[in-house]
Symmetry: C2
């Protein structure tokens, strides 16, 4: 039997080029949606409801017992209680709670994948890199690594995570996808010090978050396996896969 | 005065994210449209008329004294006389003649840029890398490097050329563009042996052309400055900039 296939989609604006049905879609938004999702679930959140608009987030906040959170352009969105930093969700705050989250790129990509017929969606970050790779290798299904990017422009950190995943799983997949090989090579150059690589290469999100004083977030979100659970989208909610 | 800006657009499907007006747009289709364009003009072609459909190419062939050429999916398109290999256009054949050319990706991107208001379009390849870089540095205008890609999926060789250009001109431009930095790093890994890099990394176009027996074309199209002229789009035609 031949290996399953793996593709990397560098931007939501390219998602139409890939058939997301019958695949595992890995939603990647390193800074910071999928890092925050991994952190909140790791710290005991009951579930995370990703929504694609601030309005929907506010609305759900009035209907169910939950925490509403999200950002637009890197800052807490007006009308929401919390932002998109993993540090806002320590165990003593988030354990047992439902988090409703909307972000500029990551939650939008997730809904885009759903609307295109994706049936199996997980979220990936450096914080849960091993859990993601182990799952992909064990499941043996076709994979699409979906980078949330920044307003549809490919970005450094999501491409780096795609490259990290490709590097780890490549022997188990057939990869006829230049974007995957580009990502793999980029990660290979950067892997010894991802933070320094982002800085030296003027990554746009490095500048954006540093301007908000969020270097600490960047460091955290580039750290392997410190929230090493597998968030899976089931019945409208992200929960830890058992 | 601040430096002009430079952006890399990795796929025609992302071109709408960039403002191509008031910019120099560099159309990049390494395998093989823009390599063939550089070669034919270097070998004395009078002009090249890029058209976006096989039908239009055939139609022009009946109206003016010209050679019609083009490919779809890497092979000579039905109804056209010649293909998209630089080796089809030696000096003793092409000198003084008008070439009408249509290709799967490159000529389509050129017309897309025109339709979005681009007023200054040049074409880039490894064969005329220095001419392109010298022009960008001297002109001091904002630049968009437009990769033709393969059916809208980013590809290895166009990204490599974008990276080669970024590497050479980066001190003269402000580059707030992760795609440019990704391309630059990729090129830096690959530059000592581009052909071997394409092969080892399973570049999709390497396989596509090798399956047609076109390794020689790949080698040729990855060679620096062997047709070092500057093709410029003027009044519907690509000609050597004087």
């Amino acid at each position: 039997m031949s290996n399953p296939t793996l593709y990397t989609c560098l931007s939501p604006a390219l998602l139409h080029l890939y058939d997301v049905r019958e695949c595992i879609v890995v939603v990647i938004d390193v800074l910071r949606a999928t890092s925050t999702i991994a952190t909140a679930l790791y710290n005991g959140a009951k579930e995370i409801i990703p929504v694609d608009s601030v309005e929907r987030c506010i609305q759900l906040g009035t209907q169910i017992n939950c925490i509403t959170a999200g950002e637009r352009d890197g800052q807490v969105a007006a009308g929401l209680q919390y932002g998109n930093s993993p540090f806002e969700y320590p165990r003593d705050f988030i354990a047992g709670k439902t988090l409703v989250l909307t972000t500029t790129n990551g939650t939008k990509l997730l809904h885009m994948a759903l609307s295109k017929g994706a049936t199996e969606i997980i979220t990936g970050s450096f914080l849960n890199l091993s859990a993601v790779c182990d799952h992909l290798i064990q499941t043996k299904k076709n994979v699409i690594l979906g980078c949330a990017a920044w307003k549809d422009k490919p970005n450094m950190e999501d491409t780096l995570l795609a490259g990290a995943i490709v590097s780890r799983v490549k022997e188990q997949f057939t990869i006829n996808c230049d974007s995957s090989h580009i990502a793999k090579n980029l990660y290979n150059v950067a892997k010894d010090d991802l933070y320094e690589f982002m800085k030296v290469n003027d990554a746009s999100h490095y500048h954006r978050l540093t301007n908000f004083g969020l270097e600490k977030d960047i460091h955290h979100c580039l750290t392997n396996d410190i929230a090493n659970i597998l968030p899976e989208y089931l019945n409208g909610k992200l929960v830890i896969q058992k």
